[in-house]
Symmetry: C2
Subunit: 319 residues, 2 copies
Amino acid sequence: MAVYTEVSDEALAAFLAHYDIGALVSFKGIAEGVENSNFLLVTDRGPYILTLYEKRVDPADLPYFLGLMQHLAKHGVTCPLPVACRDGALARELCGRPAAIVTFLPGVWPRRIRNEHCAGVGAALAQLHEAGAGFALRRANALGPAGWRPLLDRCLPRADTVREGLAAELEAALGAILALWPSGLPAGHIHADLFPDNVFFLNERVSGLIDFYFACTDLYAYDLAVCLNAWCFEADGSFNVTKGRLMIAAYEAKRPLSAAEAEALPTLCAGAAIRFLLTRLHDWLHHPPGAFVTPKDPLEYLRKLRFHRTVRGAADYGR
Amino acid sequence: MAVYTEVSDEALAAFLAHYDIGALVSFKGIAEGVENSNFLLVTDRGPYILTLYEKRVDPADLPYFLGLMQHLAKHGVTCPLPVACRDGALARELCGRPAAIVTFLPGVWPRRIRNEHCAGVGAALAQLHEAGAGFALRRANALGPAGWRPLLDRCLPRADTVREGLAAELEAALGAILALWPSGLPAGHIHADLFPDNVFFLNERVSGLIDFYFACTDLYAYDLAVCLNAWCFEADGSFNVTKGRLMIAAYEAKRPLSAAEAEALPTLCAGAAIRFLLTRLHDWLHHPPGAFVTPKDPLEYLRKLRFHRTVRGAADYGR
């Protein structure tokens, strides 16, 4: 649920005067997204999404995020297309925050994941990786392996208040993951956060990918590992190998994994699990009481991490 | 900000199968409204609003609320029109709650109230009162004068924790208001909650009235008193008599107040102030820590109540 910033009529009118998108018809806050404030903006030309970037998004990263979306949309990925101002800018200030207007995508994100969804996501992810080639900007993964140790250090003092023994378990897991972390695997532009609420479906087919605000330049197979974590576990914590098989097969139908990528999959999956575990744990330990957004349960990702540490090879994911 | 209930794809699909409104295109939670869960529902025929009625709405009242909206829309009020199921029902269950689909209204509610808005609201309110005549159902005002004493009693023990002396001040004010409460004034269907976030404007004109879930059968002039409270005070607590004059004049251009209604205006305004003061105070004192919705400041309405108790007659509101 996220609308952190109230936008006055006057501020909105002044902002919209910079765009050639028709006359305002409707403006409503959207109860989706966690990091930014999102609004449905309808003009007499149709619906758009207006996003105000709140404090977690570095304004210096916006040219990368918005440029990547523009590049991907141009190369066949159904993602939001940033709408340029009359002066050509893709973002400008609104209520003291950087803001951008993007096109509205049809579709509904799946609340309960079925097997077909996993195949759709695998194919869409491979398409995104291929379409991203040729986009010239780069952005380091701020939440990649180099970021996990400092995150863990900020969590360690109180980690055991969440679960007895968690600090020691995370220390050991992170050490093992970083020791095995692969180098030299194919890299490029990745989404890095392709969770179910970021993938729209219509009639069982992917109709759009959204929320590119964690996108970065990193290992392609790591992006697949994020998706295996986000889509292929059941509510009881078990890994659904049918879902994994469908996702990987659909991905490989467009972009086959190299032997080295396949071999690294358990480490990449464990890394993806610890990345979300650490950011959730950090938010859990540091969110102010009475905060607006309920932090997500970090222990969901502890169960996933433990699974990955028992895996013997890519076959255990259904490859 | 309100989405209290997560609606799964399957539940939504099964629900929509009862309606003849086209194929689903989009479904997003809306961060507006406090009492219910609201969603933007787009089909290939256009946008709709889906509302899930949460615990504060008595399902037995839905025929009144939805029937009134239907009646008003038929008589020229731009309010949401409930969409009937194939079997004719205006509401049916979704995720264990009563739910209804209504038409989407264009417009934006004003975050900062300008004088023109007050004239528009006055005219729209009179039109609503006139259009409601002929609607046969009735609903007592659960938050009318008869409900204020029990509300106050539940707040008294801890009222002074909010402000020293508040309990005694509210006791005295409520006694005085109830002693002067008028009888025999013209009554009919009223909105009873026509705050700025329930009135949409487009190009300075009222484009729609929403949220009829406090509507009831009560004094017309009390509804005007609610609006004077909600629209005509400035942020510093002062009453803006220009706004009051514009609102009352626009109302009277369509539905002139009787001498008795005008005379009762200070009491009705004080009553409207104590009504919102008491419900806000109740929510303030009784909301669970970490609750989802931040309760509204009850003291805003204490300042308004004090103003009304100094007023000598309708002229002080700009009549």
